[in-house]
């Protein structure tokens, strides 16, 4: 266990940024967002960023290949990216847990090399949540915000920031910046962990449970008549999917450049009318079906295919951002048979 005084935290940032790019949450007029650190940049005190940390590995849009046409000749240019090492500081436990879920999708065969390279080059420093919000329900999915994971975990205790490597990559990073850190005892942060767990117990969603859903058959859930009311006022926008740290669907599109094609991929949303549109048309024609797909995927299909792991980490972004405040918590409560209290 190492530590640095919070008023000297820039020394740590400087030491990291001297060797590689450092990103951390910064307050902007679009809420807290990850930005590159440079002298004068201060870290946001917000609990979490507006957009999730998945952007680092899975950007909203990226080019895959280019096709150039000259007369009848077509030249194919594969996308060549230069990947450099980088550090993300201040990732919360929920977002850190989302990486393992994304890995299951992108790192299983066939491996998504774009994702794999970015994942490989990134070192994640997590930060424990001293002041969780009412929208937090990570504990429902087994995430412990007192033990935030990542390559290095960090805890703030008063005016001191404690850091502990969790992986080899994290170990390497801390060794490289050892000059900015001093030795500390692991026991020092036990009161912080205990305090976080006490706060988590007090949260309004602390008791949220998937039990009611686990006990039901997939088809019973699928054909439930409750989906109609739940999805009734859904606008069909993509806000929930785009701010979600675990939503990983994308579309591959061709952009006509005038003398060829730029093939790119972009985030897609199951809420959109053209999602998975095929030659014969669309398989989900109503918003109810699209809405149902999103929650069935996260709470039923994904765990069915992944040893019971849900593809939700309880970060609460969709709770805060949905224009009509319909969200996964209300779905769980309604489908699980518990009343809204």
């Amino acid at each position: 266990m190492l530590k640095v005084s919070v008023d000297k935290i820039n020394d740590l940032f400087r030491a990291i940024a001297a060797t590689q790019k450092l990103y951390l949450p910064v307050d902007t007029n679009a809420g807290a967002q990850y930005r590159e650190w440079s002298e004068g940049v201060t870290m946001s005190q917000a609990l979490n960023t507006n957009r999730s940390a998945k952007d680092f590995f899975f950007p909203q849009t990226e080019n895959l290949a280019e096709f150039k046409m000259e007369g009848k000749k077509i030249e194919v240019k594969p996308q060549v990216n230069e990947y450099e090492d980088y550090v993300v500081f201040g990732v919360r436990a929920c977002d850190a847990a989302s990486f393992a879920i994304l890995d299951r999708v992108f790192l299983s065969e066939p491996v998504d090399t774009f994702y794999a390279h970015r994942r490989e080059h990134g070192t994640i420093i997590t930060l424990a949540c001293n002041r969780p919000a009412e929208t937090c329900f990570c504990t429902t999915f087994g995430v412990d915000p007192a033990v935030p994971g990542g390559d290095v975990s960090a805890w703030q205790k008063g005016e001191e920031l404690y850091l502990e490597a969790q992986t080899e990559k994290g170990e390497k990073l801390l060794q490289a910046v050892a000059g900015a850190l001093s030795q500390a005892e692991s026991e020092d942060i036990e009161p912080v962990k205990a305090a976080i767990r006490v706060m988590m117990e007090k949260l309004p969603l602390a008791k949220l449970s998937l039990k009611g859903i686990e006990d039901q058959k997939m088809l019973d859930l699928f054909y439930s008549d409750k989906w109609n009311a739940l999805s009734e006022s859904c606008l069909g926008c993509g806000t929930c999917t785009f701010v979600c740290p675990t939503c990983q669907c994308y579309d591959v599109r061709d952009f006509d450049t005038g003398n060829g094609i730029q093939r790119f991929r972009c985030w897609d949303s199951c809420m959109y009318s053209d999602f998975t549109k095929m030659a014969h048309g669309n398989i989900r024609n109503s918003q109810m079906e699209r809405f149902r797909q999103r929650f069935m995927h996260k709470l039923v299909y994904f765990p069915e295919n992944n040893e019971g792991i849900y593809s939700c980490v309880g970060c609460g972004r969709c709770l805060a951002k949905c224009p009509i405040h319909m969200n996964i918590v209300k779905v769980i409560k309604t489908m699980g048979g518990t009343e809204n209290e």
């Binding site: 606008l235 806000t239 053209d274």
Partner: protein
Amino acid sequence: MQEAMIKRAKELLAEGTVNRVMGWQAGEFAYDITPTVFSSADELDKAFVYNDFCSANVSKYMIKESRKEGKILCFLKPCDSYSFNQLLAEHRIWRDNVYIIGIPSYGKVDVNKVRAKGVTGITGIHTDGPNVVVETIYGSETMVKMDVMEDRCLCCKSKKHMVYDELLGEEGEVLQSNRFEQVEALENMTPEERYEFWRSELSKCIRCNACRNVCPACTCENCVFDNPASGVANKAPSSDFEENMFHIIRAFHVAGRCTDCGECSRVCPQNIPLHLLNRKFIKDINELYGTYQAGEDKDARGPLTNFTVDDCEPSIVHHRRG
């Protein structure tokens, strides 16, 4: 007001005037309210709410709901009634299938502004006269309502209902609003500053389409941006240019029909002040064609869909320098 609304809704359900009620449903933390259709007195008792967090403009839902069997009761705030009336003007709502009760709005509270004050862990929140009282797991806080009110309510254009079958509470007046001041600030920028302003704002866009989908003026059955055959359909920007164009094209398309309800900016997850684009158009229309408020008169011809010999020439843009 909430009790009076529930009482009246139950009466109308009981006497068979309506078979459904469009309103707002309570959520988990007192502020996360969902527009909902209620179909029984029980449902109303259980979850119907009306308070300073019922921000959502429910008029657009009436396009779909008015086509269903039977009449629906719809509660409209003054602001929403402009949108509803504009949709009537565009023949998008089947008026005979909607029973409208006009309800007052005292200015809605923006929970994001509450959060911006460092308040988190909200378990309860309510307005108490000029104050907002917030209960959190870390203690309770009282703040001045004006400080946490939605921006659009701070420059409210009208407390008067444009369409209704009956009213609950007292009818208000059309107000002298200072809503064009923000537009003037933009007009007073140099073109370079203004370009920079919009580039930086629009580049925040994540193309979630919430602004379009919530907009009561955006009612195309299939938006050009959702139509793969259009050649401009995109879920994400393939270039910055396209990204900026999405919002500008949308603003042009709703010009003359936008009532300035402000839903676009309310729902934007990236806090882009999208309403300023529309408000600029409204201001320009006022100056070029005479004062016009969309949604005020459902039988009036809109300035951009009407022709008179006195209409200004396109060269006015050059003379006015924008």
